[in-house]
């Protein structure tokens, strides 16, 4: 249902919340969809926020990549839809200019 709707954002919009969990930026990381095998940057995922928390879906096949639900002080992270995430650490020194 919601996967057919036009009302989604992209992985970029989850980056602030995910910075509570990941030490480095996840939007530029490449992840592989466990369902269709597509490899894309997390920023390219479709992000649905009309939920308790948010759901990121593969832009290619729409299967769920990642879910994050926050209740009180507990954060649930479900990454069953991704076989891996690859971070490029060469940009870590990049702070602007």
């Amino acid at each position: 249902m919601s996967s057919q709707s036009d009302d989604y954002l992209d992985g970029n919009a989850a980056a602030g919340e995910l910075s509570n969990i990941f030490a480095i930026d996840i939007t530029a990381a490449e992840g592989q969809c466990a369902h269709c095998g597509a490899t894309k940057h997390f920023a390219e995922a479709h992000l649905y926020t009309q939920a308790p928390g948010f759901v990121a879906r593969c832009a290619t096949c729409q299967h769920v990549l990642l879910r994050v639900v926050t209740v009180n002080q507990r954060v649930l992270l479900d990454m069953r839809g991704m076989t891996y995430l690859m971070f490029d650490t060469s940009r870590l020194h990049d702070s602007g200019q």
């Binding site: 036009d6 009302d7 989604y8 954002l9 992209d10 992985g11 970029n12 919009a13 980056a15 602030g16 910075s19 030490a23 480095i24 930026d25 939007t27 530029a28 940057h41 997390f42 920023a43 390219e44 926020t49 940009r91 870590l92 020194h93 990049d94 702070s95 602007g96 200019q97």
Partner: protein, 253 residues
């Protein structure tokens, strides 16, 4: 400074409002001074957290409009949404001297770096111009002369953001080409009737795909979908198209 950049950790910081500027009747630019700002890259955004006296808090994402600078200033341009929870405060009630919580800079994908030399195609829908303006400003600040084209889809002439600055830039800089596409009301004698961007406009005003430009598309989700599809239909490699969506309502997140 180096510590924050090295760890890559994004944290909440306090910014003090140092200037306010109304861009249109509904959009306002807010300049913050953030003493521990680690610097940013054009295209990144920040989260803004407002907390009420009863403890209720709301977080919204806004793109950074300013180029990286040494003054630790960060400018956001916020569009007021009629039913918004945060944007009415930011565009009407906020005052110089107010202190707000900002988390950022955020995002390492939808960015343009001053080291890039390839042609750049920018496509903006409404307030989707904001992060693209940061790219244009960063390019100027860095003395980078990579050829830029901007196709800016906007409701009507009165809704144009940064109008004078854009005009001055395109008048004086031959390597920055600007095209307005009006969706509701066009100026008198404008060659193209109001309407959404289409394949003809893309073909006539944007870089041809054989120049392999990097394309940045930002705006409401329907605009981004349509613009990205038109670029792909025009032969652009999907891997060279970067998008940022504001949602169907136009509210960032």
């Amino acid at each position: 400074m180096a510590g924050a950049a090295l760890s890559g950790r994004v944290t909440w910081r306090v910014g003090t409002v140092v200037a306010l500027h109304d861009e249109t009747t509904t959009a306002r630019t807010i300049a913050f001074h953030v003493p521990d700002w680690p610097g940013h890259v054009a295209g990144q955004h920040v989260d803004v957290r407002l907390t009420a006296s009863d403890g209720y808090s709301a977080v919204r994402s806004y793109s950074i409009a300013s180029a990286p600078n040494s003054e630790k200033h960060v400018e956001l341009t916020v569009e007021r949404l009629p039913d918004g929870e945060v944007s009415p405060y930011l565009t009407q009630d906020i005052a110089v001297g107010d202190r707000l919580e900002l988390r950022g800079p955020i995002g390492g994908w939808f960015v343009w770096r001053a080291q890039q030399t390839e042609p750049i195609q920018l496509l903006a829908g409404g307030s989707g111009l904001v992060p693209l303006m940061a790219m244009i400003r960063s390019r100027g600040a860095a003395g980078n002369t990579a050829p830029f084209r901007l196709l800016y889809s906007v409701r009507e002439p009165e809704a144009i953001l940064y109008r004078d600055e854009l005009k001055a830039l395109s008048d004086h800089d031959g390597t920055l080409t600007l095209t307005f596409a009006y969706t509701r009301v066009a100026p008198k004698d404008w060659p193209r009737p109001p309407g959404r961007i289409d394949a003809v406009l893309i073909a006539h005003t944007t870089w041809p795909s054989d120049l392999s430009p990097t394309c940045y598309v930002c705006g409401p989700t329907p605009f981004v979908e349509s613009a990205a599809s038109l670029l792909i239909a025009a032969g652009h490699d999907p891997n060279r198209i970067r998008t940022e969506r504001f949602g169907a309502t136009g509210e960032p997140r």
